[in-house]
Symmetry: C2
Subunit: 190 residues, 2 copies
């Protein structure tokens, strides 16, 4: 598979997909080379520092995918309420029944490695901050103060990370659905 991808991209794509499903420690390099079809020699050619370096590339790849997804949803929304509700509702469909199984974009990796790999922890931290910056911008545009915007961005990011975790654990889109339904009330007062 991945015949059309260059070896390096095939490695990143496969790694990011498997890490989402089983976490960093749960995926072996053998799994990645088997699924990507890229030989082990090539892996160490493109990623001489090994698994950590491949994981960092996979995290940055996932970061970009998520950014594009968020921006697409946000482009069509006129206010933060619509934007977030639509986004979480879309997540609930993606993690619900039917469709390809998805994992946590990078949350599991962050939870596993925050004490063991400073490199990966920093990659996750920077990814989280980039996502939050997009959220904060949406609040700023709507007239919220800078301080409120960043706090709300953190809060909504936490909501999505936690919601995805609950969806995966219960194998159901319902937790994210419940969260999406609450969002109008959560933002009603401001």
């Amino acid at each position: 598979m991945d015949k059309k991808l260059k070896p390096k991209d095939a490695l990143i794509e496969t790694a990011s997909r498997l890490f989402k499903l089983r976490g960093y420690c749960g995926v072996g390099l053998n799994d990645i080379i088997a699924e990507s079809g890229v030989p082990k020699g090539s892996l160490y050619h493109y990623f001489p520092e090994g698994k950590e370096q491949l994981a960092t590339a996979a995290i940055n790849y996932t970061k970009q995918l998520v950014i594009e997804d968020i921006q697409q949803v946000f482009a069509d929304a006129s206010n933060p309420l619509d934007a977030f509700q639509t986004y979480v509702y879309e997540l609930s469909k993606a993690f619900g029944e039917g469709g390809d199984p998805l994992g946590s974009p990078i949350g599991t990796i962050a939870g596993e490695t925050h004490t063991t790999s400073e490199t990966i922890r920093l990659a996750c931290d920077s990814t989280f901050k980039d996502w939050q910056a997009i959220y904060a911008e949406k609040f700023l545009e709507a007239g919220y103060s800078a301080q409120d915007s960043t706090s709300l961005a953190v809060t909504f990011h936490a909501l999505t990370e936690g919601g995805i975790l609950l969806a995966l654990t219960s194998k159901s889109g319902k937790p994210l659905e419940a969260i999406a339904n609450q969002i109008p009330f959560l933002l009603a007062q401001k």
Copy 2:
């Protein structure tokens, strides 16, 4: 260490502590026996089904610890707003600088194993539902409808799970602080 604990309890306590910090796959049985001082033979005496069985016991142990923590905070709070804000604020202190390093109670384990171990996934799912039941009860007592109470319970649980993840990743209590500060606004309208 753990001289005063019985071997079985020492294993559960050590396992739950290490799993919180490094996840399920990231902790080897060798780490657990080394830190607990319990020999490998005893481990398989008390947990004949091995690592999965020990992990399930560790999850249930952590579940109980968290339940007691929640109930203690909730007992002193007259309304859900105070209850949740106090709880999240307490989390922010626990995950902030100083003090023992903490990990995600079971969130990382859930993220790692949802596709690989149905046994552990179900233990995590049941733990999450038990915690949410306590949250929902607090809302019910305050006069919220049954449906709103369960939805709000899911939402606040997601907030805590996501907030803890952000705290660990950034090695800071600030994300949880920001969330705690937003809670009055999130619940203001009802």
